[in-house]
């Protein structure tokens, strides 16, 4: 660390339809530091990283690398300049070996262009060794590796490209605690060797564990950069949410007031299932529902969507009272729903991928009561590409797809229907680990674009990694609200099991 700036952002702006994701963001990253970029979902941190990695182009502003302005027109260019990103959704080639993946695109070869297997293995081995990973089977196919192992490979690939800036986008979302510790060890090794690391997260614990300096973004704007030694968790959280934790959890924070409430639920009840449920969902927010099985989460959210009955209560969508008696009403109001039971409630097994995709928004695809098949196909292709649905063709019967791909098709329905509020019930249950990471990334991306998301999961780790706020339900009632920036798994588990009367340690007593 010599104190000079390796990267400088000057007035970077980026807009999506309806949302200003980044608004004249300026700050600098020093050579060799671990620089954390924190903010809630929709704060713009992922958008900013995609700009550095060359995946998005900014609408305005400049990026300076080593003091000189650069244009990062694509990922290839960024890589050439030594900037590599390890995305949330890992992009290794499952059918290829570990060694092949590490050196993909830069295979050692002789003058005839024939790949030199021995040198390939040797160099892959060296790269892994520099990460402290010896004894890895280089010939093994990537398909069978865990997310943590794939992440390591992705980092190795970045090193093989001689990168000196490494971007890690919420790397712990799909990792176990042990894997997370191992990852941090490797990152520290890289740090000691002088690699600059940009670390994106919204989890205070991780950020304070690993970083030298912390930059906070809120609603697309730069809030401030603090050296870790001078910062406290309270301060950073306050910068992230624009108010104190107590105000934040009661929906009074500056940030939540700036973002209007898109869904207001008041006093919802159904005999024997849930009672007196009230909460707000804000634009661009990811709201988690934690609780034990049978706590009434599925019944509650199903009733908000009109798929299950309720006895009492009101729902307002975008400030307007919404009378939702049937899913059709909910869809008209801009809601989308991914049910927990994919087989029973999600797919039409014998129908094609295309039909399964477009079924809720056929009315948008018709001209004079006739379905415009070309428009339908275009829409289907676009969605399949965006969600990277893996299928031999859109005519394939959906039942032939893997669970993860089926789930992507179900999610894509609601992107196609233009839903602004998505209710996801256990969206990653029973799907393979790569699809899971992809869906995590998609959810964050949607929040960045201004969509609002409610998510149920029985994996508390997943909720902490993805959500902004988490509501904990127990016996049909909401017992507590926590912020995922500071809450721990134990806190949430205790609330889910014993309720709020239990000896709750406030996540952060000073706030």
């Amino acid at each position: 660390m010599d104190g000079t700036n390796i990267l400088e952002f000057v007035e970077i702006s980026k807009g999506f339809p309806g949302v200003q994701a980044l608004d004249r963001v300026s700050f600098a990253v020093r050579r060799g530091e671990v620089h954390a970029i924190v903010g809630e979902n929709g704060a713009g941190k992922s958008t900013l990283m995609k700009i550095i990695a060359g995946l998005y182009q900014p609408d305005g502003g400049e990026i300076h690398l080593d003091g000189k302005p650069v244009v990062l027109k694509d990922a290839h260019r960024a890589l050439g300049l030594g900037i590599a990103m390890v995305p949330q959704e890992l992009n290794l080639i499952p059918e290829m070996s570990v060694a092949e993946n590490i050196l993909l695109g830069m295979e050692p070869h002789n003058s005839l262009g024939v790949v030199d297997r021995n040198r390939q293995l040797q160099r892959a081995g060296e790269t892994l060794a520099s990460l402290g990973l010896e004894g890895v089977n280089l010939g093994q196919r990537v398909k069978g590796l865990s997310v943590a192992q794939q992440q390591m490979l992705q980092i190795a690939r970045a090193l093989a490209f001689q990168c000196n800036v490494l971007i890690m986008d919420e790397p712990t979302a799909s990792l176990s605690e042990r894997e997370q510790i191992a990852l941090f060890e490797r990152l520290r090794m890289l740090h000691e060797k002088g690699t600059t690391i940009l670390y994106i997260s919204h989890r205070m614990e991780e950020v304070f564990d690993i970083s030298d300096r912390i930059t906070v973004l809120r609603d697309g704007k730069f809030v401030g950069t603090l050296p870790r030694e001078e910062a406290t968790q309270d301060e950073v959280v306050r910068m992230m949410i624009g108010s104190t934790m107590a105000d934040y959890l009661h929906g009074r924070s500056a940030r939540l007031e700036m973002r209007r409430a898109v869904l207001e639920v008041r006093d919802l009840g159904r005999q024997g299932h849930f009672h007196e449920i009230s909460f707000d969902l804000h634009q661009g927010e990811i709201l988690g529902f934690a609780g034990l099985v049978g706590a009434g989460r599925t019944e509650l959210l199903g009733s908000i969507f009109g798929a299950l009955p309720r006895d009492t209560g009101d729902v307002r969508v975008n400030g307007q009272p919404a009378t939702i008696h049937h899913p059709a009403d909910a869809i008209k109001a801009g809601l989308g729903y991914v049910p927990e039971e994919r087989k029973r409630l999600g797919i039409f097994p014998e129908l094609s991928v295309l039909t399964n995709t477009t079924i809720p928004f056929l009315r948008k695809l018709q001209r004079m009561t006739v379905i415009d098949r070309r428009a339908e196909r275009q829409s289907g292709e676009q969605l399949a590409r965006r969600l990277r649905v893996q299928t031999p063709s859109l005519e394939q019967r959906i039942v032939k797809l893997s669970g993860g791909n089926q789930q992507k098709v179900i999610l894509s329905r609601w992107l196609g229907s233009g839903a602004d509020i998505l209710i996801l019930d256990e969206p990653t249950r029973g799907i393979d680990i790569n699809a899971k990471a992809e869906i995590h990334a998609l959810i964050a991306e949607l929040a960045d674009e201004g969509k609002s998301i409610i998510m149920i999961s029985s994996e508390i780790q997943e909720l902490l990694a993805i959500c902004d706020r988490i509501l904990v339900m127990r016996n049909g009632a909401i017992v507590s609200e926590v912020s995922s920036a500071t809450a721990t798994q134990e806190d949430i588990l205790r609330l889910a099991m014993f309720g709020s009367e239990a000896t709750l340690q406030p996540a952060n007593p000073k706030i």
């Binding site: 990922a75 290839h76 890589l79 992009n91 290794l92 080639i93 993909l104 695109g105 969507f305 798929a307 049937h326 899913p327 059709a328 909910a330 869809i331 008209k332 729903y337 049910p339 029973r344 409630l345 999600g346 797919i347 039409f348 097994p349 014998e350 129908l351 039909t355 079924i359 809720p360 056929l362 009315r363 018709q366 009561t369 006739v370 379905i371 292709e381 399949a384 590409r385 990277r388 649905v389 893996q390 299928t391 031999p392 063709s393 859109l394 019967r397 039942v399 329905r413």
Partner: protein, 337 residues
Amino acid sequence: MSEESPMNRGWGSEAAPKTGWLRRTWETIIQSQALVLLLFLIIISTIIWLISPRFLEVGNLAVVTRQTSFIALVSLGQMLCLIAGVIDLSVGTTAGFAGICAALLMHNTTMNPYLAMACGLLVGATVGLVNGLLVTRVKLNPFITTLSMSFIISGLILVVTGGWAIPNLPESIQWLGKDSVGSVPVPTIVTLIVAVILAFVLNRTFIGRHIYAIGGNKDAALIVGIQVNRLTTLVYILSGTLSALAGVLMLARLASGQPTVGDTWLLPSFAAPILGGAALNGGAGSVLGTLVGALLMTVIQNAIVMTGMTVYWENVVIGLVLVAAIVLDRVRTAKRG
């Protein structure tokens, strides 16, 4: 990153499999139940023609297509029910009852005979509406509901006719059943028009898609915002109306109200769509397949006459064909796995 960047992996980047049009056409033929059935129909017809050359005379073909049209209409109604994942056991008796109601109106009142026929259609629609409401709102089992409805209606037919035919109907309506345009019988033309409209609605409108979706997975259909109850009721109304149309066309053909019309239509109404690719557990079926299936049923009946077998074999053969159709459905389901 190389050209084969995994970022582009997946469906979007892969080119469509390149096959010749000949191969594609062949695959379409193999996959289309209707076309396979058509092939089968041609083979059977050839055999019959070898035994009895009169089979392919224009006169006989007109008889066959005219007969087919009645079966085809009730089969199209049944097909809609099967696609939506329900069944209608009252199609035959509804046809008879609609004809009897129209005949009574013509016989006992001075009502315009065409209006009387329209009333017959309305009767069919009403029966369908009642079936639909019982199944979707009262949540009764479709099988028992429509079976009971069938009994009620056949009882009503006997109550109002005393088992006697209603004679002396106006001659002005008979062209609908008896005449031909060129050598194509009028009922055949009516059936083809209905079939074209139905095919269009099923394949090109969201209502058609929604009906397939309901049969494919009723619970998932609700989640994507489909009005399952309303559309299922609509399907029953259409089934009742199409059956009634068959009934009043038969009335025009016979020029009298026969209480036994439609008694033998129930089994063919299942055999035709299932032979044509409709699935017993819903979500599949095609208009073309159903038409070819209905034609096959009639050809078999006609062959019994033409080859000089005793007509009492008819029921045996129809029963066997239905069993064959169900076996086919079974095989198809098993193949889907």
